[in-house]
Point group: C2
Chain length 452, copies 2
């Protein structure tokens, strides 16, 4: 039942818009989900989107805007008056989505829009939500929820659920508070339906619940909801009063962002980019780590230069410089990646540092011995015994060294509250490249010295 937006559909729609053939347009998009229509809005011109938008009913249109790409939305909203934004979008959206969209506007525009909101409660909710930092529980939460006083009679509760739940899209549970609005627990709709009519609220609600404070980080929220398999979680203020709720769909986005951030750091990009971003945005995201790699490479060239006399005597050493450097990089990234993932999903036990150290050395030794054996055989048959000994010893040493560095650099960064994923990018590769070259030439000097 998933809808795929095709180029044919877009073209038919554009023809329909040119011909002002409203029945055709409605036939094409009338039944679509708002997220699918948003994809169409992202594809067509602002003028075309504006035409389509007049044909969709107001509540759905608001959802469509909420689903659009940020860039397309910015252009679209720029066409509308503050009054239109207030009446057509903000009042039709959940408070968290409305606040997210408003936070993309200039502060002046925000004030204008808020002053145009007719429903005072909505204006208050949105203003309140705009106060919180984007990356906190407050920045994720919505204000819409069903609030039940622990002292209410059952009939009053049912009546209140009907009244309060009417405008909220998804309601799974109600929140039980005391007279001071302090959160006591949750009362799922299911229990309201299945408990005998005589059970009192205070004996029905669940008081063993997880909740977060408004200023908790969104990563903490994601961790809790994931750990306890929660679909929705209440948010309280500093003194335990219920102020909002966070739903799992927002947390899914957080989890995805976290994963993408690690990936992006590893690939050597300094900002989140997409392939359809502008050329200079893409170039800017790639430049810093390329420069780091370049400086590292130049440092590597200084090392090689320092061993120039050695290379003149044993020119065959040059053949394997790149190999040894690259293998250090590869082994280092592998080790770092395991640590970064362990830190990200909390599977890394504190434990003994020495134990970790010896384990890394053991793993590297196993890998190194196989690799060293291959290059020994290769070096012996294509070059000479001294070279075979040099490259196999260097390979072993570099793999061990890079694995240990690759393990401890992210652990150290993490201890100093720096994102450990930094260690997986071009930084560790470059560092291990240079280390590899130094080790290679040092061992070369030693080995050839012994055979000379």
């Amino acid at each position: 039942m998933q809808y795929k937006i095709t180029n044919e559909l877009i073209e038919k729609l554009q023809d329909g818009i040119r011909a002002k053939n409203d029945p055709l347009i409605l036939e094409l998009i009338g039944e679509l989900h708002s997220t699918d229509i948003a994809e169409i809005f992202d594809e067509v011109t602002v003028e075309e989107a504006k035409y389509l938008y007049t044909l969709i009913d107001e509540e759905k249109a608001a959802e469509v805007i909420a689903w659009m790409d940020e860039d397309s939305r910015e252009k679209f909203l720029a066409q509308l008056s503050s009054k239109q934004i207030a009446e057509q979008f903000v009042e039709n959206l959940d408070s968290d989505d409305a606040a997210d969209i408003l936070s993309e506007l200039s502060e002046e525009r925000q004030r204008e829009v808020i002053s145009e909101i007719q429903d005072k409660e909505v204006a208050d909710d949105v203003t309140d939500l705009l106060k919180y930092e984007e990356d906190t529980a407050g920045g994720l939460m919505a204000k819409e929820l069903v609030r039940i006083n622990v002292n209410w009679e059952r009939n009053k509760v049912i009546e209140e659920v009907r009244r309060q739940a009417h405008d909220i899209d998804n309601v799974y549970t109600t929140y039980v508070v005391d007279d001071n609005d302090k959160l006591l627990g949750i009362l799922p709709l299911k229990r309201l339906l299945i408990e005998p009519d005589t059970t009192r609220i205070e004996h029905m609600y669940n008081d063993k619940i997880q909740c977060v404070e408004v200023n908790d980080s969104k990563e903490h929220v994601a961790e809790l909801m994931k750990k306890y398999d929660l679909v929705v979680m209440p948010v309280v203020d500093g003194i335990g009063r219920l102020v909002g709720r966070i739903t799992i769909d927002d947390v899914v986005d957080v989890i995805q962002e976290e994963a993408e951030k690690d990936y992006q750091l590893m690939s050597g990009l300094t900002e989140q980019v997409e392939s359809d971003d502008k050329v200079w945005v893409l170039a800017r995201a790639r430049m810093p780590w390329l420069i780091v790699g370049l400086l590292g490479g130049l440092a590597g060239s200084r090392v090689i230069k320092a061993y120039e006399d050695q290379l003149q005597v044993y020119p065959e050493m040059v053949l394997f410089t790149t190999l040894i450097a690259a293998m250090g990089g590869n082994a280092g990234v592998q080790s770092s990646a395991i640590i970064v993932q362990g830190l990200a999903n909390n599977s890394l036990r504190k434990g003994d540092t020495w134990a970790k150290f010896f384990k890394q050395i053991s793993v590297a030794f196993l890998n190194g011995i196989v690799l060293a054996a291959i290059v020994f055989v290769y070096g012996y048959f294509t070059e000479s015994l001294p070279l075979a000994i040099t490259i196999s010893t260097a390979m072993m040493t570099v793999i061990i060294f890079a694995s240990v560095l690759g393990t401890f650099i992210p652990l150290t960064l993490n201890r100093f509250k720096v994102d450990p994923a930094l260690a997986t990018g071009p930084f560790i590769t470059t560092l291990n490249d240079i280390t590899g070259i130094v080790i290679y030439f040092m061992i070369g000097r030693l080995m050839y010295g012994m055979f000379a």
Copy 2:
């Protein structure tokens, strides 16, 4: 309210177990969430876990087992009879969790356990679920749901919700079917509560819903639930009959796994490993890509050897071989990573291949010109004009070449239904290393030829 399992707690518990001090133990863990107790079970010995387990009530104990690490659970369940597993776990768990745990046992053990299940309905559900592949909608779904016939009267519906929902932990919605069990739509509990008592079911339920078939891939399930912000999604068989439901918590795990798989491929690991896995498991996961890197490096050494005569005349060229090779690798990984993420989150538009090609070249040109300028200046002042020209031209060419390769290799892999993330690992780095060296020496020959 999140609980952190500390070493102190574990030690106190172990003391308590040795002293058979049950009141102390219950004080320590009695109020904990089953997922926290599961963490403790993962930490202590099997004997200690078994002791703790006798103190916890049966339903919670079943949940604890479901939350345990697969390895620890395997050891724990090996201590129990098939009858115990059937009565104490399977009958107390949701069908999807029970089936997941059973699927970890040997087929013989599975049969034994199933034959010991007293409740025939549970036995049927579990047997049915075990038929589905782990990575399909059928493998993710649970059988527990509230099923409503579209022709029922409202009172009958409420009565059925109470009856059916009683044993299900989380119920947000009911599923409306016709007399042949064909899924018609969903009826959220909220609507049941807020609609006037006279509204008929057929006018209440929502028929515009997303659903999946049992054999759809779990990636497809995750994509749909993410796209449409769903908390729960019904699963139907080949002819549209309702057979189960998938909840968002299982999908969160799928999303996380997907992200980790890409990350792992990029870091050059061939299987999902954690830092506390055994030494040889870690070494095995790292070996294959290290070998690929090694073979690539050896191929690179052949290229350098082919240009040995050139190196004898211009020995300074050797200084920058590693740099040029490494920069090709870095730029290639950046390009591939952008494509892989675009494919993963569907943000990559089909569009014009030539447009993509020119865009990549433009980005690479911008990056390349800066890097080339830096190495030109460096080369000119430390070595010579011909070398400065050679390394800057080679840098420019390599960056452009690597970016284009890095863009088109994942796109091509994807077209042939191979995981595009393969392109981000040591494979692309190694390929670009070799290409870089070839380009470097070719340009070197040309440039020095012109100056000679």
